[in-house]
């Protein structure tokens, strides 16, 4: 089961109705054996642009973020299902990405080219392997001299 984030933009509703909408959404996740990891309420905010849903314009929404586990093959259906809810203005699902943090190499990168270890390695390799110009053409005629 993959871990997904769902961003939910709900219509501006009283608390009890918001709870029922969230309950409906949660139920649709539980149906296929999903597990909700967390529910965060970002609050009621004006949207950056107007969104029309069911022929009604919406300029404000209640923002929620759900983190949940869900079978990857069913995720598209879930997105489809959620967006058909009349109280949901917009629902999007994103897979969570596990970023691997590497060490910061900014200091090394800001050095002049010949001081960078990467460039030094490249130069050493060039001495060993040569360049594409250092290879001489061979006639392979077994004569040891150029007959032309």
């Amino acid at each position: 089961m993959g871990v997904y984030d769902m961003t939910l933009l709900l219509r501006v509703l009283p608390k009890a109705e918001l709870a029922s909408v969230l309950k409906r959404t949660a139920e649709s996740i539980f149906e296929k054996g999903g597990i909700i990891r967390s529910i965060s309420n970002v609050g009621q905010k004006p949207m950056p642009f107007k969104i029309s849903k069911n022929s009604k314009p919406h300029r404000e929404a209640c923002y929620f973020i759900l983190e949940f586990n869900y079978p990857p093959t069913e995720v598209n259906d879930l997105a489809n299902h959620i967006n058909r809810d009349v109280d949901v203005i917009r629902g999007r699902i994103f897979p969570q990405v596990n970023y691997r943090f590497s060490e910061c190499t900014f200091e090394e990168e800001m050095k002049p080219a010949p001081y960078r270890s990467e460039v030094q390695e490249m130069m050493a390799n060039r001495k060993i392997r040569g360049t594409r110009f250092s290879k001489k053409f061979e006639y392979n005629n077994g004569l040891g001299y150029n007959p032309l």
């Binding site: 918001l18 909700i36 309420n41």
Partner: protein, 232 residues
């Protein structure tokens, strides 16, 4: 200007093939100097009118001269034919005589033996090189396989460790998972608490949480939370 005028090449009549002679004809090194060595009528000109339909008369030789020349030529032909036949016979005898054939076979056998000897020498030297190469390659392959085995084992263990880490983390988190039983409580809790993911960061790496958190007003503003700079 004057110089250029003096060097001007006079027009050459192509049809009459008049030799081109420069004005400064005493200097042979000039480019426009041209020798006319073989003076021919060009191919594209027709036969001259005076020579057209003219049949040259047949040449007549004295009869005695003709008879003598014929005799000489006949004799020459007969003698040359005899000589050719003689030489051909000699050649055939040299090539197909029994002792000649035997000698040739002997030489061929000798050559074969020599070739075989040389070939064996070459084969031996190449075999030595090949054996050395095969031994070297086998050793290299053995070392590579050993290294690969160690590397794959290391990777496997690493993977297992990673998986175990994930499982441990999930197990820890599983106590906070929301299921059908505690969904109502979780929704109630979420509705009562709003979360703000916004934060800003100053040049020292301090993190100020909150939407409008600014370092200069952070002390006045109780909402933004000043945190220690996270490492990395």
């Amino acid at each position: 200007m004057n110089f250029v005028m003096r060097l001007r090449i006079p027009p050459c009549n192509v049809l009459s093939q008049t030799p081109i002679v420069s004005i400064l004809s005493n200097n042979n090194n000039l480019v426009c100097h041209q020798c006319v060595r073989w003076r021919h009528k060009p191919r594209w000109l027709p036969v001259a009118k005076t020579k057209m339909w003219r049949i040259p008369p047949r040449k007549e030789y004295p009869e005695e001269q003709t008879a003598r020349l014929l005799t000489w030529f006949n004799n020459y032909r007969t003698q040359m034919k005899a000589l050719h036949l003689y030489l051909a016979e000699q050649q055939k005898a040299q090539e197909t005589g029994p002792e000649v054939i035997a000698e040739r076979l002997r030489l061929e056998e000798l050559k074969d033996v020599e070739c075989a000897k040389l070939n064996d020498e070459w084969n031996a030297s190449v075999a030595k090189l090949r054996e050395a190469r095969l031994i070297r390659q086998a050793e290299e392959r053995r070392l590579k396989i050993e290294a690969d085995l160690i590397e794959s084992e290391r990777k496997r263990l690493e993977k297992i460790q990673e998986i175990e880490e994930v499982v441990r983390r999930e197990k820890e988190l599983s106590s906070t998972f929301i299921t059908r039983e505690n969904i109502d409580v979780a929704i109630e809790k979420a509705l009562n608490e709003t979360v703000d993911f916004n934060y800003c960061i100053d040049l020292k790496g301090n993190i100020y949480k909150g939407l409008r958190a600014r370092p200069e007003v952070a002390s006045e503003n109780p909402l933004p939370e000043k945190m220690e700079a996270e490492s990395g």
